[in-house]
């Protein structure tokens, strides 16, 4: 199935995700309204400010449309940072948003911008080499449900998880030159890549 991956285009680092998918030969579509979801095989909820994204999701009635697309049309969804918060079924001290992935998250759990950082880690499912990680005012995944696989756990928190329907990273692969995460998600969505990688 040669189909596109949608990038939720309301606020945040949309073009970085698009550029990453383009460089691995995957076509993308900006998603601003429920109609934009039809025929997609995957959807990325990018990094940004989750309160802003959530407000706009409801305003444009995308909240239910995304839940339906994931629940009924079985499109896969990937949340980075703010996107991971929106996907979670439990958010510390506040109500859940989309609730599509059985995890508990704590918003902005590292501190202020002064506590943002870069690091590297080996995530066997993603690459056999270490991959760069960028944490910007990141949330923490505190717990993952039984049907959720933990792909990366660091110290006292979980940084990356996967379920049948969803992928969540509290860091920003779209901010690094690493394309492995985008390749992985494209594979998960069953999307054909046209041509060879440009990077």
């Amino acid at each position: 199935m040669a189909s596109a991956i949608g990038i939720l285009d309301l606020q945040g680092d949309v073009i970085e995700h698009i550029a990453h998918f383009e460089s691995i030969g995957v076509s993308t579509r900006r998603v601003k309204a429920p109609a934009d979801l039809s025929g997609l095989s995957g959807l990325v909820i990018p990094g940004g400010e989750s309160t802003c994204l959530w407000r706009l999701l409801r305003l444009f009635e995308l909240d239910r449309a995304i839940a339906d697309a994931v629940g009924q049309q079985k499109i896969k969804v990937w949340g980075t940072c703010a996107g991971a918060i929106l996907l979670a079924t439990r958010i510390r001290n506040e109500p859940a948003k989309l609730g599509l992935l059985d995890i508990e998250v704590a918003r902005n759990a590292f501190g202020s911008q002064l506590d943002s950082f870069h690091s590297r880690a080996l995530i066997p499912k993603i690459s056999d080499r270490e991959v760069p990680l960028t944490f910007i005012r990141a949330p923490k995944i505190l717990q993952a449900g039984k049907d959720v696989e933990v792909l990366l756990a660091v110290d006292d928190y979980i940084a990356m998880v996967e379920s049948t329907a969803a992928l969540a990273t509290i860091f920003h692969p779209e901010m690094t030159p690493c394309l492995a995460f985008h390749r992985y998600f494209a594979r998960k969505c069953g999307v054909q890549r046209s041509g060879t990688d440009r990077v």
């Binding site: 949309v14 911008q113 506590d115 943002s116 870069h118 660091v154």
Partner: protein, 340 residues
């Protein structure tokens, strides 16, 4: 309008952010400790590395397509967050009050800023005076998320801006043209905004500044290599950054619009002109229905290319802030002239 839509999309599709250009080059230190630096133990070496600066540019990238709102207390900060602001600027007086009351405008009370930081989960910014590096040190010690070295406050130095490269915390600075923007970036600013004319509700200066920057970038792109040096010399552009801008076709950091934005249409205008997001100062909390206007501007920025949505956002907002026509102002009353 169509024209801008097209230009912008075309620009976006071939846009490669400088941060991952940086990564594409072979890096010397790819093996690094898990946590590179934090506020408490950041050393001068940390700051000299690109890592901290890169993280700061990246935070600004997360704010793209968003609205940053001036707030003077916890209640306003909550209203802004609820309306969908991507960040708040905590200050004691909004620019229109500073303009009216005059006197010396300084960094805000740290307790007030701390209370706002406590009340919201979105990033909190605060203003330091131009050149007042100790106000910036204090704001950094307060662990806020971003400092605005702002012409809205009374300048503390009429020659030098803050050496922002010495700090771990990110800075945003105002600019009227490419020269100001690149000099601020050379000093370490991780984000640029137009100066516009703060506290007036008149968008004309923000438009002028955005158009000027865009025009100078286009000119730079069309120059043969040997003409870049005289072009840069004439306008006071740092040379290395001039070549970078020429290659990227845009500023190497996020560029927001600020100064005089009062309506959803103003905000969408600035977005169609090619900025990455907007700051709204007095425009929200000096209007008759701040919560509604804040939501409307957030919506207009998210759908800046869709006239039907902007129309919807523009309905039933009550009256805009009390505004001043900039063309009738004396030079001395203009804040945009501050900055060197």
């Amino acid at each position: 309008m169509k024209l801008y839509t097209k230009t912008r999309n075309k620009q976006n599709s071939r846009l490669i952010w400088p941060t991952f250009r940086l990564y594409l080059k072979p890096q010397k230190q790819l093996i690094v400790p898990r946590k590179i630096s934090s506020a408490k133990n950041a050393t001068r070496e940390d700051n000299m590395e690109n890592n901290r600066y890169e993280l700061n540019v990246q935070l600004a990238q997360m704010l793209k397509g968003g609205v940053i709102m001036d707030v003077v207390d916890v209640e306003q900060a909550k209203t802004a967050e609820e309306a969908g602001a991507v960040a708040v600027m905590a200050l004691e007086r909004v620019p229109s009050d500073i303009r009216r009351q005059g006197g010396v405008a300084r960094m805000s009370d740290p307790d007030m800023i701390a209370a706002i930081k406590q009340a919201v989960s979105i990033p909190v910014m605060a203003k330091a005076r131009i050149g007042h590096f100790v106000e910036a040190q204090v704001l950094e010690a307060l662990s806020i998320d971003y400092i605005d070295e702002s012409e809205v406050l009374t300048p503390a130095d009429e020659e030098c801006h803050i050496d922002k490269s010495l700090f771990s915390i990110p800075f945003v600075c105002g600019a009227r043209n490419l020269g100001e923007a690149l000099r601020r970036i050379a000093e370490g600013a991780a984000m640029i905004r137009t100066k516009g004319e703060a506290g007036t509700g008149d968008v004309v200066e923000a438009v002028r500044h955005m158009r000027t920057m865009n025009r100078e970038i286009r000119q730079l792109q069309n120059l043969p290599t040997e003409e870049v040096v005289p072009f840069a010399k004439e306008r006071g552009l740092p040379l290395e950054l001039s070549f970078k801008v020429r290659e990227l076709g845009r500023l190497p950091v996020v560029n927001f619009a600020a100064g005089g934005i009062a309506t959803p249409a103003d905000a969408a205008l600035m977005m169609q002109l090619g900025c990455d997001g907007v700051f709204v100062g007095s425009g929200i909390f000096k209007s008759s229905d701040p919560a509604k206007r804040a939501q409307a501007i957030v919506k207009a920025v998210a759908c800046f290319n869709d006239p039907d949505q902007i129309l919807e956002a523009s309905r039933g907002l009550g009256t805009a802030m009390e505004s001043i026509n900039v063309s009738g102002m004396e030079d001395g009353e203009r804040l945009a002239g501050r900055g060197w």
